[in-house]
């Protein structure tokens, strides 16, 4: 493989003069079939990259909304193989890139090699592992690279400049900037300008790397990030799934509508 398809997704968005839109939902929430429909609906509503959560019950990074989604998926009996099947089915009909976001114990329990093999066969483009920080992740990142999968390193506001440079030096084509110190889904507690300042610093050090901005971004603030590379909305979508289930509505339709709205706000 030459240029990863993931990079092309970023570049297509850039041609549209906007940041790429990434969505996060938990794979298998609320069940396998609905989850696949949610992915399809998200793709049809214009998301550029789909982040699929491979949830872990004892996670240490998820806020309430994503915990609820994870709980629904896991208590419904969703297994790691189900997530790969959802992605594989999705990729049969859609070109939208899929990234898996997970925790280290899920990969360890599956076995690193087997996990990567499955990522390849189900056409996963990238992996984010919340609790596998640099430099401990370097061996696994290397294995990802050998399988043409982008291992996405995480950065945050308190990553000091030396560490930032070292991580960027080892990073693959894409990195993820956690915009604030919090779990997912909390209110944005730093200004969009401050986030962009850090984003620009990352781009100054590594102009060639694509940087995803995540945490705390909602419909109200998404347009502020139009000029960046990419931003993620997750908890709002998970909450929408919860609301749809509670009100006996179709989660796929509602999440799709929400993504359409986000895309429009990002494009305007």
């Amino acid at each position: 493989m030459t240029l990863s398809t993931l990079i092309k997704s970023f570049e297509r968005a850039k041609e549209d003069n906007r940041a790429a839109l990434l969505t996060y939902t938990v794979g298998g929430d609320p069940d396998k079939k609905t989850s696949l429909n949610i992915f399809k609906s998200i793709a049809e509503s214009g998301a550029d990259i789909i982040e699929c959560g491979l949830g872990h019950g004892a996670n240490i990074g998820d806020g309430g909304a994503i915990q609820d989604s994870t709980y629904r998926a896991l208590s419904g009996g969703i297994k790691t193989d189900d997530i790969f099947e959802i992605i594989e089915d999705f990729k049969k009909d859609y070109k939208t890139d899929v990234i898996i976001m997970t925790y280290q114990n899920k990969i360890m329990a599956y076995g690193e090699e087997d996990f990567l093999e499955k990522c390849v066969s189900s056409k996963v483009s990238g992996i984010i592992c919340v609790d596998w920080p640099w430099p401990l992740n370097l061996d696994f990142a290397k294995k990802c690279k050998e399988n043409s999968i982008v291992f996405i390193q995480l950065l945050c506001p308190t990553t000091n400049e030396d560490r930032l440079k070292s991580i960027l030096n080892d990073a693959h084509e894409v990195v993820y900037y956690i915009s604030m110190l919090s779990t997912t889904g909390q209110k944005l507690k730093v200004s969009s300008d401050e986030i962009k300042k850090r984003f620009n610093l990352i781009k100054k050090i590594s102009p060639d790397k694509k940087c995803i901005i995540g945490f705390g971004i909602t419909a109200d603030t998404i347009n502020d990030f139009k000029d960046t590379d990419a931003c993620v909305v997750g908890s709002a979508l998970c909450r929408e799934i919860t609301r749809s289930i509670d009100e006996k509505l179709n989660p796929a339709t509602n999440v799709g509508n929400m993504v359409g709205d986000l895309k429009q706000k990002l494009s305007s």
């Binding site: 872990h56 019950g57 004892a58 996670n59 240490i60 990074g61 998820d62 806020g63 915990q67 709980y71 896991l74 297994k79 790691t80 925790y103 280290q104 114990n105 899920k106 990969i107 360890m108 329990a109 599956y110 919340v130 609790d131 596998w132 920080p133 640099w134 401990l136 995480l154 950065l155 945050c156 308190t158 990553t159 000091n160 560490r163 956690i178 110190l181 919090s182 779990t183 909390q186």
Partner: protein, 409 residues
Amino acid sequence: MKLEKGTPLIDQHDENGYWGGKFGGNQIAESLNYPIEELTREFEKLRNDKTFIAERDYYFKNFVGAPTPFIKLENLTKHLGGAQIYCKLVSKATGGAHKAYNAVVHSLICKRLGKTYIGGDTGAGYAGKMLSMAAAKFNLKCKIFMGAKDLERQSINVFSMRSYGAEVVPVNSGSQTLVDAVSECMRWWTSENEEAHMCVGSTVGPTIFVKICAWSTAQISREMKKQVIDEFGEVPKDMKLINCVGGGSSAAGFWNEWIDYDNVELIGVEAGGPEKSSKHAAPLTNDSPIGVLHGATQYVIQDDQGEIEETESISAGLDYPGVSPLHCFLKETGRARYTSASDEEAIEAFQLVSKNEGFVSPSLEPSHAFAEAIKIAPKLSKDTIIVVDSCGDSAKDSKIIAERLGYKI
């Protein structure tokens, strides 16, 4: 995997924080990297700072009440026949358990870091109670995370925490026990680490928390070593130190000074759960697979999907699916032996010890350790010295034990 003689156990990890190159580490979100580095730097400085040590010792002596008694359980020894049974009565520490040591040290560190807010997790409620107590003394705002199920079964300790002014946050996710409380506490710290300090209540979590906790509870064996020599004139030729192991903080402290003594056997007793249940909280005894939990690699009770499985134990303090990397290391090197006792054996041990000794009334956690002592003592000679760490007092378990034995209180 090998132990190094002459090097403190807490320092036998590699540059990435792994004991034996395998257990522990800092498998954390990037957002926690900075506060963990900051805490690591501060702790390494403080542990060599004479003023800090003097301050620690002052509070240990005058507030926690060090040294706690080292006594011979003559009636129990006579009743069982065989080995001589001694007890390190750590439950006499202020608050009724060993958790006071870690709480005091973390509160002092919190102040040195210039922070005024501290948060912690708790299972049996002792860690939370002691942290609340220390926080009140040191004028720190305090938040305690506790599983909703534990909140219910350890209501006496919850009452104490609230009396000391702490905010007790019930955790309703997952099994609603210690494992969920630790996860929630780490999530809280991820958001609040610029302002607040986190105290992990046992020798679990990222490496620095394992180290601080074991360094604090090491007080137990430091003072006991003197007491043993006062009693026997030398270190006995055949001595066995029995301690319960949940997260492993009291065992780590009880054993710390004895690691290099080959004639001292270290026996850890995990929670075997109810006799008729397949559930337990004994990952070392039952060879659970290695996994990552709360930022560290360890033996952990989990399914083939890497999901943490529900544990079950009558003792809230031992009801944890993982175990300290220190104990994984001690197991793998063969230095310590691990076994388990069932709920029923623990209750029987509680009854036997309380009835024979009066002054010693172990909580359900050390009752597991006593159960092992009761099992092995009759088979051993009187030249063998068994010391059990009675690390908690039964007062907090009155309701559970009474119900189990059919009393109404």
